[in-house]
Amino acid sequence: MAHLASEFAGIKSPNPFWLASAPPTDKEYNVRRAYEAGWGGVVWKTLGSEGPPVVNVNGPRYGAIWGGDRRLLGLNNIELITDRPLRQNLREIKSVKRDYPDRALVVSLMVPCEEEAWKAILPVVEETGADGVELNFGCPHGMAERGMGSAVGQVPEYVEMVTRWCKASTRMPVIVKLTPNITSILGPATAALKGGADAVSLINTINSITAVDLDAMAPEPTIDGKGTHGGYCGPAVKPIALNMVAEIARNPETAKLPISGIGGVTTWRDAAEFLALGAGNVQVCTAAMTYGFRVVEEMKSGLSQWMGEKGYASVDQVVGRAVPNVTDWQYLNLNYVTKARIDQDACIKCGRCYAACEDTSHQAIAMSGDRTFTVKDEDCVACNLCVNVCPVENCITMVEMPKGQTDPRTGQVVGGYVNWTTHPNNPGATCAAE
């Protein structure tokens, strides 16, 4: 079994699985249970300034979408930051950290966008013995309207400014949590870097309405006949998060900035993908909220076993492995030709590949009278849709056509690497001959 010990932004934890700042990390009771279940770290649910705490709604706080068998795919949340007194949270943080010194404990913070507010809270957090702070610049609902959360995260200048204030006021590592509710993640990420952030974490939740109650004609979750947008998370957001993590990791300016990957991590494989795209560790919330804290056991054993199989001795060796292979579309090899192949032994003859290809793609699958489905290479553009709709994993695969063969669809011989930048159809092409 490979070694899972992790060091992220100078913070050590026995494994790279942290619980994200969210409802599961709001109280000592939950956090102790999390540590007992084996989580490597916890980001304590966001604290606000001293004084009367925020209030939460007393109706439903979550909305959801489901896949087959009512598997929860996406969760949306309108809960705000902690609604418990600051002093109580600090007391509990100190108590937990004392009892679990080997686990990471990072405290999420969100106070008004004023230097005094940040200067006031950082020392009291530091006094708890916490390992670091995470600046919540992502919360998309409720707090944003008060000039906090994503209202800060969406303005790179604010991100940089607040980060700098914090770095100047604490010796703790400062992690800046980024909102995905922006056009390019590079703006706020670069700003965090400039402000001196030790790391960024992303993604925070995505603005969303999960469903509409068609009787009440109101968004869900519905509070006395009204609803509001909430923060979307869970497996459904993973692709968005992976892309944003990769964008930061492959951008030369931000490439060295440690990233804590967040967004739909449900199994070890999700975590490995975040790591491969440049995340130094991962934070998890929805999977724990769906299945309970024990899910971390599978994540740890799965990641460790996979790393062992692949010969990775430590998490560090996985981090960023796939980043060099993330590129822009224009550099993709246009001479890479594949064709779909259907494994007739594995095929259960449902015909979904045929319906998808015939109705919505390139009419490249033939169906015989006895329901044998075969690919017509002369029509197959290798779009992969058949693979994606097939219910049987690995029944349909994309097989590369060797160089020198003629693609029956185009009549062209498969050659070496060429991309769009030199393609004759590209009006902006650089000289192909060079």
Binding site: I348, K349, C350, M367, V392
Partner: protein, 444 residues
């Protein structure tokens, strides 16, 4: 009553009072909404789906399951009823394991098909629970059609004709409509009076007048019907039963299984229905299984089905046979009755093992005896009382295309007509298709 399993002779009340309701409740309980959602979720919405192709009525199965999954069971029921107005009964009695579910791609994928039959029941029950009839009649055509036989074929034909605007008189020889649905199938397959409720719901379309107690050949003649109506559909089933042709067939408590099942179905108090301690059923079809299993459920101690050919040739499906075995029915194959022994009533039956001699069956010299105080004959039904002048094919009414007989203006379908399996669902398809052909001939 103090009778038990072991009381000798043919007696009622072998079970405790509460056991009857339990034994004769739904064989396959209905799905609750959660179960239906889980079951529906397994459907892959296949292209040109094999299940639909395997359905004699060609119900668009992936579509109705998708409608269930999307939370609209009533819309799902419409999809079903569009093709099969007796979709409720078919959901209960179809040998789905031989039809739609046999070819389900999930059967290929994991040996566990989508539960199509139970989902169909979920949908049809949901719509029928609403009480109203989902179809409206077309404007009256002024045409009148006589449908003889209110079984599945006749009901399907009458309903389709009524929707097309024709007026239908539905004649049936028995006291109640429904045919085999009402009289022929095992009680636990259509519990809670479903056959009767289904007919009442079906005629909610309007335009159908049912005349019970009117038998062709006894109270009606085909000639008169042809003269009085614009068209005639015959769905008269198979009213005759084959004889055993074994010595002693006339002894007491030797009975046609179909009569026993009909009596059981019409019984209002099953504790009063007598059944033997040692019951022997001769035959290999659904009727044999239904008679045997219900004998067991009435409290018979030993029930044995004896079939003359081998197991694979039994027309009862594997699921039916397994159901019988699970209820404790013993199945002996490759043996035929030689002699029924008893003084007045049957006491035992002598069987000889059979041997297949190039397709024809021969008795061997090896015999055995089975104790029997009740013997049911379930060796097949035959066409009985077919009107003169109709060409036959084999022992059934010859038909071409959608049920056209050799007589102009006369159609036939269901078990009485040649071709197709003797299944409820096949009868429905034939009745429906004949109705469309009648409609075309009347309007065209």
């Amino acid at each position: 009553m103090s009778n038990t399993h072991r009381t000798p002779g043919v007696v009622p009340g072998r079970l405790a009072a509460g056991a009857y309701a339990e034994n004769f409740s739904d064989k396959v309980p209905p799905l609750d909404p959660h179960e239906a959602a889980v079951a529906a979720d397994r459907c892959y919405f296949c292209y040109d789906a094999p299940c639909t192709r395997a359905c004699p009525t060609a119900i668009d199965i992936p579509m109705f399951i998708r409608q269930i999954a999307a939370g609209r069971p009533e819309a799902a029921a419409r999809t079903i009823f569009d093709r099969n107005i007796l979709g409720g009964m078919c959901a209960r009695v179809c040998p789905t394991e031989q039809l739609c579910e046999a070819v389900c791609v999930r059967e290929a994928a994991e040996g566990q098909p989508v539960e199509i039959g139970r989902l169909q029941r979920f949908a049809t029950d949901a719509l029928m629970a609403g009480g109203s009839h989902p179809y409206a009649r077309a404007a009256s055509t002024g045409r009148r059609v006589a449908v003889v036989g209110a079984g599945p074929a006749g009901l399907a034909c009458a309903h389709r004709l009524a929707t097309r605007g024709h007026d239908v008189v539905l004649f049936d020889a028995r006291e109640k409509p429904g045919g085999l649905n009402e009289y022929g199938i095992a009680a636990y397959k259509a519990a809670d009076g479903f056959a009767r409720r289904e007919v009442e719901w079906l005629i909610g379309i309007g335009g159908i007048t049912i005349e019970n107690g009117r038998a062709l050949g006894r109270d009606l003649t085909l000639d008169a019907l042809r003269a009085d109506y614009d068209a005639v559909f015959l769905g008269i089933g198979l009213a005759g039963v084959n004889a055993l042709r074994a010595e002693g067939e006339d002894k007491g408590h030797v009975r046609d299984a179909v009569d026993f099942i009909a009596e059981l179905r019409q019984s209002t108090d099953l504790s009063k229905l007598p059944v033997g301690r040692d019951v022997v059923v001769i035959g290999g079809g659904m009727t044999a299984v239904d008679a045997a299993v219900q004998s067991k459920l009435l409290g018979a101690e030993n029930v044995t089905i004896v079939y003359r050919r081998d197991r694979a040739q039994m027309s009862a499906s594997e699921a039916e046979r397994n159901q019988a075995a699970a209820k404790g029915v013993r199945i002996i194959t490759g043996a035929a009755p030689v002699r029924i022994i008893g003084n007045g009533a049957v006491r035992e039956v002598e069987f000889a093992y059979t041997r297949d001699e190039g397709g024809s069956l021969a008795m061997t010299a090896e015999t055995f005896h089975l104790r029997a105080d009740q013997l049911f004959k379930a060796i097949g039904q035959t066409l009985d009382g077919a009107p003169e002048g109709l060409a036959l094919s084999g022992r059934k009414i010859a038909v071409t295309g959608p049920g056209r007989t050799s007589l102009a203006g006369v159609w036939a379908g269901g078990d009485c007509a040649a071709g197709g399996d003797d299944l409820t669902v096949t009868a429905v398809a034939e009745g429906r298709d004949a109705a469309e052909d009648i409609h075309a001939s009347l309007i065209g």
